[in-house]
């Protein structure tokens, strides 16, 4: 668990982070979200002491981060940033092995770990281990960046707009892969972004910030159902509901009766936003739900609209 207590950071005249108190639960993916310049990066970097505080304290598992020398602390916290920052003169293998090397692991153990991590981020270890960063595409480089951050299996992972520089197709693919990676690994992740879609897609919790302060904290559904400020509504906009739909699958709803006769069919795993899109495209109010090849029920336009607000 990461606790930030009354954290403040000033630069000359600007107050980058203004008296922020926040608890990041273990195993969750917490998003720091807000417009550019609102202090997300600064807040993130107080956790691994890349930014030293002017006031307040940061605790990890009840222990102040100041009680550990910064270099030692950082070796136990994963760190990945938008511009990746791979070392251009080192192979992929050596890049990924950086923190294990700093921790004094044996060569064989590092080697095994590099292979494991490359597979984990979806790259062929044989093909990629000896490449140089200059030979990688943006998406590949970012995968390596994530692998490098995970190398020493740190319990906490800090990520600053890691997919921000990618083209939309690659970004979405990496977001989905990362979401499934996170659900498998169960790391505590603090993830900075200014992209609402990314925040709603990935976040277990969203911390919405403005001008160095937290506006509201909660799951995407909580922020959607119960915005505490006009700013929350304005920031997420009218599409917020649609984005929430994309977080849930048909399987999450109570199925209704299957429609009679020929109708459009959607699979149980389809997300609600896509299901809605199919209804609009096919001009039907009700679709059949498939589990494999079998029809297991039906879903109507009304089901989506009413159930989402009540039960998700």
């Amino acid at each position: 668990m990461i606790e930030l207590r009354n954290v403040t950071k000033r630069y000359d005249t600007t107050v980058a982070v203004d008296d922020v108190t926040l608890t990041v639960p273990d195993g969750e993916l917490t998003i720091l979200l807000g417009p550019s310049g609102c202090g997300k990066t600064t807040l993130l970097r107080t956790i691994n002491r890349m930014v030293e505080l002017d006031a307040g304290e940061v605790l990890i598992d009840g222990q102040s981060v100041r009680s550990t020398p910064p270099e030692v602390l950082r070796r136990h916290i994963g760190y990945a940033i938008q511009s990746v920052g791979l070392f251009p003169h080192m192979t992929v293998r050596r890049n990924i092995g950086t923190v294990p090397r700093l921790l004094g692991w044996e060569t064989a153990r590092i080697e095994a770990r590099v292979t494991e991590l490359l597979s984990l981020v979806g790259l062929d270890p044989v093909a990629y281990a000896d490449k140089r960063p200059a030979e990688l595409s943006g998406g590949e480089a970012q995968r390596i960046g994530v692998a490098r951050a995970l190398a020493a299996d740190p319990p906490v992972l800090l990520m600053d707009e890691p997919f921000g520089a990618l083209d939309p197709i690659n970004r979405e693919r990496l977001q989905r892969e990362f979401a499934s990676l996170h659900s498998r690994l169960g790391k505590t992740v603090v993830f900075v972004t200014h992209d609402i879609e990314e925040a709603v897609l990935l976040g277990d919790r969203i911390v919405l910030m403005r001008e160095g302060r937290i506006v509201q904290t909660g799951s995407p559904e909580e922020l959607w159902r119960g915005p505490e400020h006009q700013f929350v509504r304005d920031f997420f906009g009218d599409e917020f509901g649609l984005r929430i739909l994309s977080r849930h699958r048909i399987a999450d709803l109570k199925p209704g009766a299957a429609p009679q006769g020929a109708s459009a069919r959607v699979h149980l795993d389809t997300n609600l936003r896509d299901a809605l899109a199919i209804m609009v495209t096919e001009s039907v109010e009700r679709v059949s739900i498939l589990d494999g090849e079998r029809v297991v029920g039906g879903l109507s336009f009304c089901d989506i609209v009413t159930q989402v607000r009540e039960s998700l």
């Binding site: 890349m50 511009s83 990746v84 920052g85 251009p88 003169h89 950086t98 923190v99």
Partner: protein, 371 residues
């Protein structure tokens, strides 16, 4: 091209001091002179044809061949002149020879530029070297003035060459030892940069000889005051003032390139190095220095070439070096002797330059690096 054959080519003098007789290549060599002219003409003819893979090599071969022919002929003439006049005879090259040399160099250079493959370019560079070595080995050049002077000065030559290398390599070594830390320091702090680069810039604009003049009394006083300094052989005269001045000059490219190289590293790379838990020193040695290496090496190359040429300075204040031979030649108005001092300096500088460029390329540096 014609002037190279028609102009004053060789001068024959009974000894070093008296004025001699000038001859053009055609007068001196007869048929061999015409052969050289024909080679030149052929080379020009090749230059007019459409460039193909082999034309550059052919052109360079013909050009080098012309000059080598002239050289061989000059050697033969010198031998027959010496047979008449005895050991004091000097057969020296005139302006036309140097023009021919320049022309051959330009031809080879342009031919090298139009030759696509690396192998072709190597061949072009090897033509004149192999030719020269062959002529020397067969003794064809032994009676030329420049060779005679070289043979006469050989004992001093070796000593002065050693001293010259001491200045050039010593100053460069010192610049590496001091300049790289100074560059790192400058890259880390703006204050350090202002102080260090400011004073090095000041050193740069000082005329070298005036600088030596300033160092002499300072080092002299130091030597008189502290016996430890004196024990090192440091005093107002001799090697120390020149060494210090060369060192200051050499510091500039090394320090500046180190500074620039570190500054131009992607900030994200430094940020992740720190973020993953590298300390300052580790980041310096594992990330910053390796990334800066090719550019720093370019600075070292510049320092070395500059010091090799600059070490001539030492001759002005009795510090030795190849400059001494050059000055001796100037005093005696013997162009041959001047060349015995100067040619090795040029050759050394070229060899150092080429050698370090190869290392740079292997280290992944770009061709044009902050010269």
């Amino acid at each position: 091209m014609l002037t190279t054959v028609m102009g004053p080519y060789l001068s024959f003098r009974p000894n070093r001091i008296v004025d001699g007789l000038s001859q053009t290549a055609l007068e001196a060599f007869g048929p061999l002179g015409w052969l050289a002219l024909a080679l030149w003409a052929l080379s020009a003819l090749v230059a007019l044809t459409r460039p193909r893979a082999w034309t550059g090599v052919a052109r360079a071969a013909l050009g080098s061949g012309a000059v080598l022919t002239l050289l061989a002929a000059a050697g033969a003439e010198a031998a027959s002149f010496a047979a008449v006049q005895g050991a004091a005879a000097r057969t020296s090259f005139g302006a036309s020879f140097y023009l021919a040399l320049l022309a051959a160099f330009l031809v080879s250079y342009s031919a090298s530029a139009e030759t696509p493959g690396r192998r072709g370019r190597t061949v072009i560079a090897l033509f004149p070297i192999i030719g020269l070595v062959a002529l020397t080995a067969t003794g064809a050049l032994a009676e030329l003035g420049i060779v005679r002077e070289w043979v006469l000065t050989r004992p001093t030559f070796v000593r002065e060459l050693r001293r010259h290398l001491f200045y050039a390599l010593g100053a460069t070594g010192g610049a590496i030892a001091l300049g790289i830390p100074m560059g790192v320091l400058s890259a880390r702090s703006r204050h350090a940069e202002t102080a260090i680069m400011g004073s090095l810039n000041l050193g740069q604009v000082f005329p070298a000889l005036a600088f030596v003049g300033i160092m002499m009394p300072i080092l002299g006083a130091l030597g008189d005051r502290f016996s430890a300094v004196k024990a090192l052989g440091i005093s107002g005269i001799g090697w120390a003032p020149v060494f210090v001045v060369l060192l200051v000059y050499a510091l500039f490219p090394v320090t500046r390139n180190t500074l620039v190289a570190i500054r131009q590293i992607d900030p994200a790379v430094l940020d992740t190095a720190r973020g993953m838990g590298m300390g300052r020193w580790r980041s310096l040695f594992e990330v910053e220095m390796p990334l800066a290496f090719p550019v720093v090496l370019a600075g070292v190359r510049i320092a070395l070439v500059q010091s090799t040429a600059g070490a001539i300075l030492a001759a002005f204040v009795g510090g030795g070096g190849l400059g001494t031979i050059m000055f001796f030649g100037l005093e005696q108005t013997s162009m041959d002797l001047v060349l015995v001092g100067v040619l090795p300096i040029v050759a050394l500088a070229l060899v150092f330059d080429a050698g370090l460029r190869v290392v740079e390329r292997m280290a992944g540096g770009s061709e044009e690096s902050y010269a």
